[in-house]
């Protein structure tokens, strides 16, 4: 890339806000609602998923409050069922699945590839509208009286024994699913067809690789969820019996269809987070990611293996012993590419010039918590252990270690890391470090006791429990309170920084990605000229040379 082709800003102390960028390019609400700019759509998504995150978080708070005492005294058992169902549906379909891809992925993938936009900008906007329709329907199901099937819609419970708003919630998930399909489709086509000259597959940032793997899962898995959901709705509305044992249907068929999507879905959630961690670890240890191609391929391997493990959700549901054995072995295989990633991040840190900015703190939290979450997943994949631990709080703790301790920490790492790029302003460093540490402590206090509870046999999804479990439950609720504070803080100071944060400049972290070589916030068209990628990813020497010889032009 020639130095003159880049609008670059000098270092942060003298940085000024560029006069023209994607935020002030057009004004008014309609310019946002009808935009085809991937960066603006990312911001729309960021606002919406934050809203739904706090809705889902409120339900988590209510669940923990109910579990403070052994009796079901805050709410009745039925209401409690609605709480955890709502928590699950909102957090999984409306927060975790779109979290990193629809916000950071949307914003960054075209820029990282040197493109002006995603391949299909209008489909990108359509996907946001579908997401909003799905979100609205979910809220409608909630306001009308709630759903109490659990987020898994288990048949025949969901089709025959409940009289809540299952069809509304099912429609919501069906619609939101298409939003996810369109995002994945857009990413795959963009990554295949829109790369700048010189941007070969193995020069792409690992963030892009992990999004590519996640997109494959979105495109191949989500339609199967869609048809499973349609069948549940038809079964409820017409009573055709496809999942009804009294009419010859098989409830287990629903489990197969549902988990064929919903197991890969956890990789849809975690893979983009792993992409964030690769970027952050490399930048703050100032080293190329150790074993770049191993990390890249491990993303694809996780996506591939992820499709062949779904039956481990059904070990106690009467599947054959032989198939359970095979699926148990396949489940263990997923640990291999996951471990490759963790070891490579550790080797990236080795002898690096490590600094401890907020994104790095979150990244460290991710590595530790994800490792615990991942390894307890191996416990659950082992047949004998699973019989004992399944449907207990051990599962709850395992899942939250991966999804909150892993994914949410990665999301916050990414939000802090690219906040200067998205808004042009820095977040307050000491406050954000405080929130990272608070979340880490709060998280462990919440979920570590749940591992023990599960091991002792406390079943999940009940509003009441034997009195001997109370101490650990009180600890967990106390942790949830701390965790809640840790998640509220960023909302406040990031909002504050929009107006009062220090001007960031183009490359506050001295990172190597193409997104850091353009102004912050970027221009609507991202690049003035199509960049030419003439170096490897994470090439810090290239960056040093470039900065030394560059004639900076302030845009």
């Amino acid at each position: 890339m020639s130095a003159t082709s880049i609008v670059s800003l000098p270092d942060q102390s003298t940085a000024t806000m560029p006069k023209r960028h994607y935020i002030n390019n057009e004004h008014g609400l309609l310019s946002w609602l009808l935009t085809a700019d991937h960066k603006r759509i990312a911001i729309l998504y960021l606002i919406s998923i934050t809203f739904f995150f706090f809705i889902g978080g409120a339900f988590a708070g209510l669940i923990r409050l109910e579990l403070l005492t052994p009796q079901s005294d805050l709410v009745a058992a039925d209401t409690y069922n609605k709480f955890f169902t709502m928590h699950g549906i909102v957090m999984i379909f409306l927060f975790l699945v779109p979290s990193v891809p629809a916000t950071l992925g949307n914003f960054l993938i075209p820029i990282m590839l040197g493109a002006k936009d995603l391949a299909f900008p209008k489909i990108n906007l359509l996907s946001w509208y579908l997401y909003m329709i799905g979100g609205t329907l979910t809220l409608a199901a909630l306001v009308l009286g709630g759903v109490d099937t659990g987020w898994t819609f288990t048949t025949p419970l969901s089709t025959h024994y409940l009289n809540t708003h299952v069809v509304t919630a099912a429609t919501a998930i069906f619609v939101a699913g298409f939003s996810s399909i369109f995002t994945g489709l857009n990413f795959i086509v963009t990554i295949h067809r829109m790369r700048a000259p010189g941007m070969t597959w193995f020069r792409m940032p690992l963030f892009v690789w992990s999004h590519y793997a996640a997109s494959l899962l979105m495109v191949l898995g989500t339609p199967v969820l869609a048809i499973a959901i349609v069948l549940v709705a038809l079964e409820r509305l017409i009573g055709i019996g496809v999942f009804d044992p009294t009419k010859g249907g098989d409830p287990l068929l629903f489990q197969h269809l549902f988990w064929f999507y919903s197991h890969p879905a956890v990789y849809i959630m975690i893979l983009p987070g792993m992409g964030v961690i690769s970027e952050v670890i490399s930048t703050f240890s100032r080293k190329r990611v150790f074993g770049y191609s191993a990390v890249a391929f491990s993303s694809v391997a996780i996506a591939l293996f992820g499709f062949f493990v779904w039956e481990h959700h059904m070990f106690i549901m009467g599947v054959s012993n032989y198939s359970a054995l095979v699926f148990s072995l396949l489940t263990m295989l997923v640990a291999v590419p996951s471990a490759i990633k963790v070891f490579n991040w550790a080797f990236t840190l080795q002898k690096g010039s490590i600094t401890f900015e907020t994104p790095m703190l979150y990244a460290f939290a991710f590595i530790g918590l994800f490792t615990i979450g991942g390894l307890t997943g191996v416990f659950l994949g082992a047949l004998g252990m699973d019989i004992h631990l399944t449907e207990t709080y051990f599962i709850v703790a395992h899942f939250h270690y991966v999804m909150v301790g892993g994914m949410l920490m990665a999301f916050l790492a990414g939000i802090h890391f690219w906040w200067p790029k998205m808004t042009g302003r820095m977040y307050p460093e000491s406050l954000s470090k405080l929130s990272a540490v608070t979340s880490f402590i709060g998280f462990n206090l919440t979920f570590m006791p749940q591992f023990i509870l599960g091991y002792l046999g406390m079943p999940r999804r009940y509003a009441s429990y034997p009195a001997e479990f109370q101490v650990l439950n009180v600890l967990s609720t106390a942790g949830a309170t701390v965790l809640g504070v840790g998640f509220m803080l960023p909302l406040l100071y990031l909002g504050w920084s929009l107006k009062y944060g220090a001007i960031a400049g183009a490359n506050p972290w001295q990172a190597t990605g193409l997104e850091w070589q353009i102004q912050s916030p970027p221009l609507t068209e991202n690049f003035i000229e199509t960049p030419i990628m003439d170096h490897e990813a994470y090439d810090y020497e290239w960056l040093e040379n470039k900065t030394k010889h560059e004639v900076t032009t302030v845009g």
């Binding site: 489709l185 191949l220 339609p223 499973a228």
Partner: protein, 256 residues
């Protein structure tokens, strides 16, 4: 999907004009028209992949239940109208043939031929749906639509239906097995219904394409929408080519 590929871009500032722009349909964020065309076609293939997975769920259910309730599936399948199904297969393949000619006409820039071919595609598509209507109507009259009005009478007492020779020749099913014909008919309606829904959406798109083809939008070198719609239409054809034997031709024995 097509509208996003084809509608010219107007409301966004063109910060940098390219030298090679010759078509009004060229979208600013693509470097070249070739890149745009490739991206569009690649996107369509991926979309079809999601469609395969979507239908795949139902094919999986079919596989499972056909293995479990084979006698019910065979008896219920024999009740489907093979001549109508076969006619529809020919109609749909013809429709696909005209669609292929349409893509060719667009490529060689023959506006009149393109419009005629698209019209023929539409007419054959509608004919398919017409035949389907009569098939569904027959099922309705026989109470073979799953739900509260579903009746297994025809499979328990086939001898009472001399007007349906295929069924008449069948051995009666035990009532609990006959009950499973409902699952067959549910899958029949779900799969052919989903297929018909795709046809209806396709016909809607065809009308829009015909109007634009008449304006000459697709005979100036801009083939992408016709090409991509063609892929979709052929996909819908292929789904039917699987549905027809799997649903209509289970254990047919015409020489009995």
């Amino acid at each position: 999907m097509d509208s996003a590929l084809t509608t010219p871009h107007t409301h966004e500032a063109h910060a940098h004009e390219h030298e090679h722009i010759s078509l009004p349909q060229h979208r600013h964020h693509f470097e070249t028209e070739e890149q745009q065309r490739e991206a569009g076609s690649f996107g369509m293939w991926l979309f079809l992949l999601t469609e395969i997975m979507f239908f795949g769920g139902m094919f999986f259910a079919y596989l499972l239940y056909r293995n479990w309730y084979y006698p019910a599936f065979a008896a219920a399948s024999n009740q489907l109208n093979v001549p109508m199904g076969a006619t529809n297969t020919v109609i749909l393949i013809s429709s696909g043939f005209f669609m292929a000619l349409g893509v060719w006409a667009s490529e060689v820039r023959k506006k009149k031929t393109l419009v005629i071919m698209l019209l023929l595609t539409t007419i054959f598509g509608c004919a398919f749906l017409g035949v389907k209507y009569f098939e569904y109507k027959e099922k309705y009259e026989l109470h073979h639509i799953p739900g509260n009005n579903f009746s297994i009478a025809m499979f328990v007492n086939p001898q009472n239906y001399p007007q349906y020779p295929d069924t008449y020749a069948e051995k009666p099913l035990a009532p609990d097995m006959a009950q499973k014909t409902q699952i067959f008919f549910f899958l029949y309606f779900a799969m052919t219904g989903m297929h018909a829904l795709h046809m209806i959406i396709g016909i809607g798109l065809l009308v829009w394409l015909i109007i634009r083809a008449q304006r000459g939008d697709f005979t100036n070198g801009y083939v992408a929408p016709i090409e991509n719609f063609g892929l979709y239409w052929h996909f819908v054809d292929i789904v039917w080519l699987f549905l027809f034997p799997l649903l209509y031709l289970i254990n047919r024995h015409p020489l009995h």
